[in-house]
């Protein structure tokens, strides 16, 4: 119940950011979209996924992720049809499948996905800060460059968050990150 309320809060916050998302690509790509994914993760928090579904679910999540990484998709997400697709697909095709598949993934695969996420954030930072043209027609070049730097900052923050438990040991107050999840059966 608590997770459902939190999921609804995340979704409501994402919808409330509608105007801000139109004004700033950072608010759009790095706040509103992750909130929608978070809503999907939280709504499925207590669901049990089956091991045989892990790979198809992961592929679904990655496909949705790749689609919404494209600058053209970011532009489209500001149109009425694109907005509806965004509000539905990010929680249901990215957040939920990611949550249900994650506990079943091998630790090396999880580490690979995290490392790849850092590299791709670096690539996006590279491209958005130095692109000679407007990649998203809906935003200014200066806003696009801000987004590029935000990608780089996010890469650094995520690297620290993921590296600290590995370097210094898993904090006792956190649930185990690698031994699966009893609630979801892994």
């Amino acid at each position: 119940m608590k997770m459902t309320v939190l999921a609804l809060l995340a979704a409501a916050e994402a919808i409330a950011l509608r105007q801000a998302a139109e004004a700033s690509p950072i608010q759009h790509v790095l706040v509103q979209m992750p909130l929608l994914v978070l809503a999907g993760v939280l709504i499925s928090w207590d669901m049990r996924g089956r091991r045989v579904w892990a790979v198809p679910l992961l592929l679904t999540a990655l496909t949705a992720f790749l689609f919404w990484m494209l600058p053209r998709s970011v532009d489209w997400a500001l149109t009425p049809a694109g907005e509806t697709a965004k509000y539905l697909s990010l929680p249901l095709l990215l957040g939920v499948p990611l949550r249900l598949s994650w506990p079943w993934l091998a630790p090396v695969l999880r580490g690979f996905l995290k490392a790849n996420a850092l590299s791709m954030l670096g690539v996006l930072g590279f491209l958005y800060t130095h692109a000679p043209l407007r990649i998203c027609n809906s935003y200014l070049v200066s806003a696009q460059q801000d987004l590029g730097f935000a990608f780089l900052q996010l890469a650094v923050v995520l690297a620290c968050i993921w590296a600290v438990p590995v370097l210094f040991g898993h904090p006792r107050w956190l649930p185990s990150g690698s031994a699966g999840c009893s609630k979801c059966g892994a």
């Binding site: 090396v108 490392a115 590299s119 690539v123 210094f168």
Partner: protein, 486 residues
Amino acid sequence: MSTVSENYVPGHAAAAPQAGAVKLTMVLSGAVFALMMVFGLLMRAAQGQWIDLDAALFYQLLTAHGAGMVGTAALSGAAIMWYFCGRHLVLSGGIFWAFLGLFLLGVVLILGAIFIGGYGGAWTFLFPLPALSGGAWEAGAAAAFMLGYTAIGVGFLLYYLELGRRIHARYGSLVRALGWNLILGREDNDPPPPAIVAAAAVTIFNSIGIILGAAVLVASLVHLLVPGFEVDALLAKNLIYFFGHVFINASIYMAVTAVYEILPEYTGKPWKSNRLFAIAWNAVLIFVMAVYWHHLLQDVVMPPWMLVVGQLVSYFSGIPLIAVTAFSTFLYVRGSKMTWDLASSLLVLSVAGWSVGSVPASIDGMISVNKVMHNTMWVPGHFHTYLLLGEVAMAFGFMAWLVRGKTISQMDGLDRAAFVTYLAGAAGFVTVFLFSGAASIPRRWAVHYEEWLAHDRIGTLFGGLVVLGTLVFVLRFAARLGRREG
């Protein structure tokens, strides 16, 4: 003659984890080392005008030699570290096979890019050279080269993720595996052995290098496919040299685990981690990442403080190596009455060669020297010293040990001849490079002036000796692989 059991009682089960996979990797490494050395010999002979080599082919060979040697040094180093970490950790064989498969896929792509696509932009793929070939190669060839690197990088990432998670599972955290309990004077009932300390450090810095390398590789790929997407050239150069410097250094730091694990069999004294050893490896972890700026001393647009740090860390980075590994090797060997067979001789030589190689590196790391020396033969002189006489000697020493059996005997005539030939050839080869650098002969030139030919020809002769010695080492290893231990 002696046996292992006479003078050494290992503190752990000296098992042979995934020995088949490791032996196959070492056979492949030895074969590629020999082939790449032949490429190098061809280039030196062409510079000396003893053979006629088309300039385009020269740069293709230069690219293959650079990428092949760096890749094979890393491959052999990875196999060595995997083998010895397997004595202390339970490692997944599937990951090693995936690593090897991805590596071989990368090799196929790289060789195809070079010898079918004509790519000759050097192993450093510096932006924007891969995209500006002047008609020498198509963008597709450069893209295939970078995809080859990407495949190899993914393989290494899987390797380090597996190693890192097993170290984490065994020791609870990477800092404990780095020996922080030893450094801080805390009690530790299960201190990490030297191979694990080295593995923890390499896992950290090479993972960071690979992640940053993947970012610049993909950005360069996007630029190749969509030329409108520019990449910031200075940032790209920083990332490429961070990745490249860390990667090639990691190959030596992985291979040195052979010294820590094998030499005690000969000296009878186990090589244990202590406070100084742990401090040195933690310093290596920082220095290896902070020193790469010494590759950019001629980039005047770099912030001056970075160049100063590059110079200072160049001085400091030799200290942990020389103070701990080289000095410890000297102490272990001194008075131990060890038997000098091919394995022990090559391993001790490798530590000496690695240490000596750091001297010309530190000299070139001085800004005032670098201004005139960086684009000369001095630079191949220094890195050939710590590769030919360092990492490659470690790999050959490990290979000799793998097929040695339980009995330790003095070198026979062929082994001694091969060792002396390799040592004389390598020492002469790198000395000629350093002399050529001091004489301001530029590096990476396919065609040399008459005045430089004597250097090139003497270098070619010494290079021939290196190839001869290498062929004996590799063929000897392959021939003894199937032999039963005795």
